[in-house]
C-alpha cells in the first residue's frame, strides 16, 4: 500500500469497496472515520434547519456550523467543514431529518449535538458559559489554557495541531483569559450539573506549560487548583474525569492523585514512533523525549491504576510526507507494536483521525486511506482486549472521538 501524497485530488477506492474488505468492522464506525477524514459540508437547507435554541453551534476559522453529530447507534462524529477538493460528505435536511450524503446518495440519518441549557448563561464575571465549559453529548469539556509553551515560546508546536491558533482566536473573540479561572469553571459546572442525566464525565486539557521548580510544576499546580475547585461540587472523593496533560513525573503524578478527585490521566504522545515523533512533535521531543514520555505513562499506571491511564495518538499523521512512513503497512506495524508495548505495561492507546486543519503546519496534507484507519482502530482495540485493559474513561460516550474506543462497546 502507498500512503499520502501532497496532491489534493483523491483517487481512492469507494467506501463500499473498502468496507466490504472488513466484514467484521461496524459500518457505522467506518462511516464515522470516513466523515472525519473527508470532512463535512452543510447545505443551505441543513443550515436553515439548524435551531440555535436546540443545537450546538460552533465557530471554526470564522465559520459557524453545528458542533458535530450523533449516529443512530449513539456514536459521535466530530468533524469539521472541509473544502470541496477534499471530497467532504454533505449534511442535508430531508423529510424532517438531517442526513449524511455521499455522491448524491443518502447514507445515514444523523442528529445534531443537543445544546445544554447552561449555554445561554453567563458567569458572574460576565463570560459566556459555553466558552468556558463546552459540552459533548455526555461530557463537559474544559479547554483550560490556550497557551502552549512548545507552540508559543519555542515555535516547536506539534505540526498537526491547530488548537493553540484556534483557541487563541476564540479567546480574542470572547475576551476569555488565556488561562481560565477555577471559579469560572466551577460556576459553569455547577450550572451544568443541574441538568440531570446530561453528563457522565469531565474532561480537562490545555497547552503544555513547562516552567516551575520542577519542569511542568506550573501546569500541575494549575490543574490541581482547578480540580480541587471542581471537586467541591461532588459528594464523593473521586468523580468521573479525565485530565489530558503533559507527562508529569512520578512525584507530580502522586500529588495529582492525592490532592484531587481526578479519575483518570492521559498524556498524548501523538505519534508511536521515535523518529517520527521527533520530527512531528519537536517541542515534546526537546523537553521530554519519546522514551521518557513512555516511561512517565507507565509510571502513571502505578499511581492511577490499570484502566485509568491512556495516551492518544493522531492516527495517520505518522504517514505525513516527507519524513513519515511511506507505506501504510509499515506505519501500522510500527504503531501497533508500540501500542502493544504500552498496553503490556497497563497504558491504553486511543487514536483520533488526522484531518489536516487550517492553523496547523500540516494543513495542506492528506489523510491516509479509510482502509488504514479501519486497520488502526481494529488493531488498537484488539490490543486492549488482549491485555484486558478497559477504556471506560475515554469511550464512545465519555469522549466519542476515538474510533478504536467506539469498538470497546463490545469488549
Amino acid at each position: 500500500m502507498v500512503c499520502v501524497s501532497p496532491i489534493r485530488l483523491r483517487n481512492e477506492a469507494p467506501f463500499t469497496e473498502v468496507v466490504a474488505g472488513h466484514p467484521e468492522f461496524p459500518l457505522l464506525i467506518a462511516l464515522k472515520i470516513d466523515v472525519q477524514r473527508r470532512g463535512l459540508n452543510y447545505t443551505r437547507r441543513a443550515m436553515d434547519a439548524v435551531d440555535p435554541a436546540r443545537h450546538q453551534i460552533y465557530m471554526w476559522e470564522g465559520v459557524a456550523y453545528p458542533h458535530s453529530m450523533l449516529l443512530r447507534d449513539g456514536t459521535t462524529i466530530l468533524a469539521y467543514p472541509q473544502p470541496r477538493d477534499r471530497n467532504p460528505y454533505d449534511v442535508d435536511f430531508l423529510d424532517g431529518r438531517f442526513v449524511l450524503i455521499d455522491g448524491g446518495e443518502v447514507v445515514e440519518t444523523v442528529d445534531l449535538w443537543p445544546k445544554p441549557l447552561y449555554y445561554d448563561k453567563k458567569t458572574r464575571s460576565g463570560l459566556p458559559m459555553k466558552e468556558v465549559v463546552s459540552a459533548r453529548p455526555q461530557r463537559l469539556d474544559i479547554f483550560a489554557s490556550s497557551f502552549c509553551h512548545f507552540a508559543h515560546v519555542d515555535d516547536q508546536g506539534c505540526q498537526f495541531c491547530p488548537l493553540p491558533h484556534h483557541h487563541s482566536q476564540l479567546r480574542e473573540t470572547y475576551d476569555l483569559p488565556t488561562r481560565l479561572k477555577s471559579e469560572d469553571v466551577k460556576e459553569c459546572i455547577a450550572e451544568a450539573l443541574k441538568e440531570t442525566g446530561r453528563f457522565t464525565n469531565i474532561h480537562i486539557t490545555g497547552g503544555s506549560v513547562i516552567k516551575g521548580h520542577e519542569m511542568l510544576d506550573a501546569e500541575l499546580d494549575y490543574y490541581i487548583k482547578l480540580l480541587r475547585a471542581i471537586g467541591e461540587l461532588f459528594a464523593t472523593p473521586r468523580f468521573p474525569s479525565q485530565l489530558l496533560a503533559s507527562p508529569f513525573s512520578e512525584g507530580q503524578l502522586i500529588r495529582l492523585r492525592e490532592q484531587t478527585g481526578l479519575g483518570s490521566y492521559t498524556s498524548n504522545i501523538e505519534v508511536l514512533d521515535e523518529a517520527r515523533f521527533n520530527w512531528i512533535c519537536p517541542g515534546k521531543a526537546h523537553h521530554i523525549g519519546y522514551r521518557e514520555w513512555k516511561r512517565r505513562l507507565v509510571r502513571a499506571v502505578e499511581v492511577f491504576g490499570r484502566g485509568n491511564v491512556g495516551t492518544g495518538i493522531v492516527g495517520g499523521v505518522e504517514t505525513a510526507p516527507p519524513h513519515g512512513f511511506v507505506s501504510e503497512s509499515d506505519a501500522l506495524r510500527a504503531t501497533l507494536d508500540e501500542a502493544e508495548d504500552l498496553a503490556r505495561q497497563g497504558v491504553t492507546t486511543v487514536h483520533t483521525v488526522w484531518a489536516p486543519q487550517k492553523g496547523s503546519k500540516f494543513h495542506d496534507l492528506k489523510t491516509p486511506s479509510l482502509d488504514y484507519f479501519i486497520r488502526l482502530a481494529s488493531g488498537l482495540q484488539a490490543i486492549r482486549a488482549r491485555h484486558g485493559l478497559s477504556v471506560d474513561f475515554d469511550d464512545y460516550r465519555r469522549c466519542g472521538n476515538h474510533p478504536d474506543s467506539d469498538l470497546a462497546r463490545l469488549q
Binding site: Q138, T196, L410
Partner: protein
Amino acid sequence: MTIRLDPDVADLLADTDTIKILATVGADGAPHAVVKQSIHLGEDGNIHYLERLESSVTNKNMVRSIWFNRTVAITLAHGDGRSVQIKGRPVKAHITGELFLRHYRAARAGDPEADLAAVWVIEPQTVTNQNARARREAEAALHPHFIHLDRLARA
C-alpha cells in the same frame, strides 16, 4: 419488513402484569434472554426499552445487533394466557437528547439508585401469536402429520 403493531399487541405491551423478555445473541452465538419490564410501545410506533447498565450483556448484544443488522426477539406473556413473540431490529440508541432525558428523570423519580445508559428503539418486523391454543391450531392446519395417532383413534 417493518410492521405496525396491532392494538392487541399494544395492549399487551401496556399491561403492567405482562412479563416482557428480551432475547439477544452474543458474539459466540449464545442466546441471552432476560426480563426487561421497561419494554414499551414508543410514540413512533416502535418498541422501546430502557437499558440501565452500560456494560450489561444485553447492551453489548444490542450494539452488536445494530452494527451488524441482527435480529432480536421479545416475548410478551400474560397470566391470562395471552402471549406473543415479536422479532425486530435495533435501529437507534438514544444516549442523550429529549427522549433519553425524559426517561432518565422518570427512572430516577422511581428509584433514587437508578441510572440510564440508553433508550433502545427496536423496529418490529414479525409478530407471532404464542398463545398455546393458537399455536396448536396453526400446527394442526399446516402440519396434519404432526400428531400422535392415539389422539385420532376412536374412543
